[in-house]
């Protein structure tokens, strides 16, 4: 039996691609037409609503009655509330700069030069530190703005960054403790991880915000935002620790043995040899965890923080703009989307890069 199999024909034109992927059979054609039609209808509708029939004109809500599409005027009128929450009006520039600073830090950490176990933490600590100084003030002649007044996008960004900046070292510590040679250390780390992963985030945050003040002496309480962020960071760390551990398990024993045989000490074996490889192995799950965490920051609304979701609610809740809730939520959704989409595109790029260097 010598059947000659023709090499698969690979069409390189768009037309060829469409023929092969969309119209290969009558069934395919029908599905393509139905879904294609639905998509065209949907995007047409969206475009009409958001752009063609919409208005950006400044003015009160009266203006909105006259347009059939989106009335973006609400963003102009309430944008500051959405972005800054209760942050004092004349200090809004600080909140803006703080957010831009964090975005710059995020962009910088995409530059491969920063990808070392020393540079990345330094970059993030200084970026985040500057963010906090700008937001809180109290030095350089900046007026103090207490955390109760923080709000809007900068609070969302603060919670996310603080959770990652505190949670990541914790995660590394927990992951290392869980593979320690000492049974006690292993057991404690394992218990913490399993406990926090088996509780809902909301329960943990509630405990930190409401229960802790009732049970812990005053001097140990810190402020509410601090407690909530630390609790959130613990929650994040427990998931991330398992991700890192999985990444470490994929590394052959020979790596650590070779490093030991070369006389490298424990710390160097971990930070120069194991962790960089573990992070590379677990890149997709790590990015995924970041995305989830960014979206989960909206939960803190429930315990009385004024992050971007809460300030969006407030923006439409005062009566005047009640009818424009769709525009406001759409806008806030778009802000989330920008962050999350950026994160996941960046993750995909990293992965491609790591894969390339694997087969190179």
């Amino acid at each position: 039996m010598t059947a000659v199999i023709a090499p698969p024909q690979i069409e390189t034109t768009y037309l060829g691609w469409a023929k092969r992927r969309l119209f290969a059979s009558p069934g395919d054609t029908v599905l393509t037409l139905i879904f294609g039609g639905a998509m065209i209808w949907f995007f047409q509708f969206l475009l009409d609503w958001a752009v063609v029939n919409a208005t950006w004109a400044e003015g009160g809500k009266e203006l909105c009655r006259e347009v059939s599409g989106a009335c973006w005027s609400v963003i102009g009128a309430r944008g500051r509330l959405i972005f800054f929450g209760l942050y004092p009006y004349e200090e809004h520039w600080r909140s803006t700069f703080a957010c831009l600073l964090i975005i710059a830090t995020m962009v910088l950490s995409c530059v491969p030069w920063f990808w070392s176990m020393k540079r990345l933490p330094v970059l993030w600590l200084s970026g985040f530190g500057a963010f906090v100084v700008l937001m809180y003030g109290g030095i350089f002649g900046l007026k103090v703005v207490t955390t109760e007044q923080w709000g809007g996008l900068s609070l969302t960004v603060f919670i996310f960054c603080a959770v990652v900046v505190i949670g990541m070292p914790l995660a590394i510590g927990l992951a290392l403790a869980r593979r320690s040679k000492l049974p006690v250390v292993r057991l404690v780390a394992g218990s913490i991880i399993d406990l926090f992963r088996s509780l809902p985030l909301l329960t943990i945050l509630f405990t930190a915000a409401v229960v802790v003040p009732l049970t812990v002496p005053d001097w140990a309480q810190g402020n509410k935002l601090g407690r909530v962020v630390v609790a959130f960071a613990l929650f994040f760390a427990c998931y991330q620790a398992e991700i890192i551990r999985a990444g470490m398990q994929a590394i052959p024993d020979g790596q650590e043995e070779a490093a030991a045989a070369l006389g490298m000490k424990y710390g160097s074996r971990i930070f120069d040899i194991l962790l960089p490889q573990a992070f590379r192995n677990s890149l997709p799950s790590t990015i995924n965890q970041f995305v989830i965490t960014f979206k989960e920051t909206s939960i803190v609304t429930i315990i009385g923080f004024f992050e971007i979701m809460a300030s969006a609610n407030a923006a439409v809740g005062t009566g005047e703009w009640t009818a424009q809730y769709i525009e406001v939520y759409f806008f806030v959704g778009f802000v989330y989307f920008l962050f999350v989409f950026g994160l996941s595109r960046y993750g995909a790029y990293l992965e491609r890069r790591a894969r390339l260097s694997n087969v190179r």
Binding site: Q255, A258, L262, G263, I273
Partner: protein
Amino acid sequence: MSDKAIQLIDVNKYYGQFHALKNINLEVAEGERVVICGQSGSGKSTTIRCINRLERHNDGKIIVEGIELTDDIDALDEVRREVGMVFQRFNLFPHLTVLENCALPQIRARGTSRVNAEKMGLRQLDRMKIADQACKFADELSGGQQQRVAIARALCMEPRIMLFDEPTSALDPEMIGEVLECMVNLAEDGMTMICVTHEMGFARSVADRVVFMAAGRIIEQAPPTAFFENPQAEETQVFLKQIINH
């Protein structure tokens, strides 16, 4: 200073209940080349891994360059400074380039400056005839090239003793030669070597002594001519027949 590079005195090693090394006594002089052979599972790897304490022995004494191996961390550091090791599976660090593989351990373990570490790296890579690949990553190299890099990396630490654990067993046949050649050169430079290998040609031409192990014991040791022409123990004879038939 004694002229003994390594002494194993009545060494015993258990993996749980399993008695892996049974009363091992072995002495290696400075500059001596020793080949260890034996069936799979006879304890060859375990023996040399005890010498730089990748495995802890349970009983007996191991003295390397006059330093006894105990739980003392400083002693261990000192021993690992004197002992380089080459593994069957190369174990190059895949996230680093060839040159960084050579430089980083020097920087971390000894505080060498980066410039000097890279200089040393290039020198040893050159010695292993692979300096032209310095900027590549490990997975861009053939097995033979990777193993030569691994040898260069170990040599960068300027060890007085080199341990080889089946350095050519994971290689395609056509690459074995280039690695053996590098090892022969090393031997000619007077390096103290212990080499676990089934390359009997290498044993014949380079070794001062061949040690035969079976079931966790040293059964027989002799200079290569005597060992191959006139093996004493029955196990050795059986083993040599097997090897020659293959």
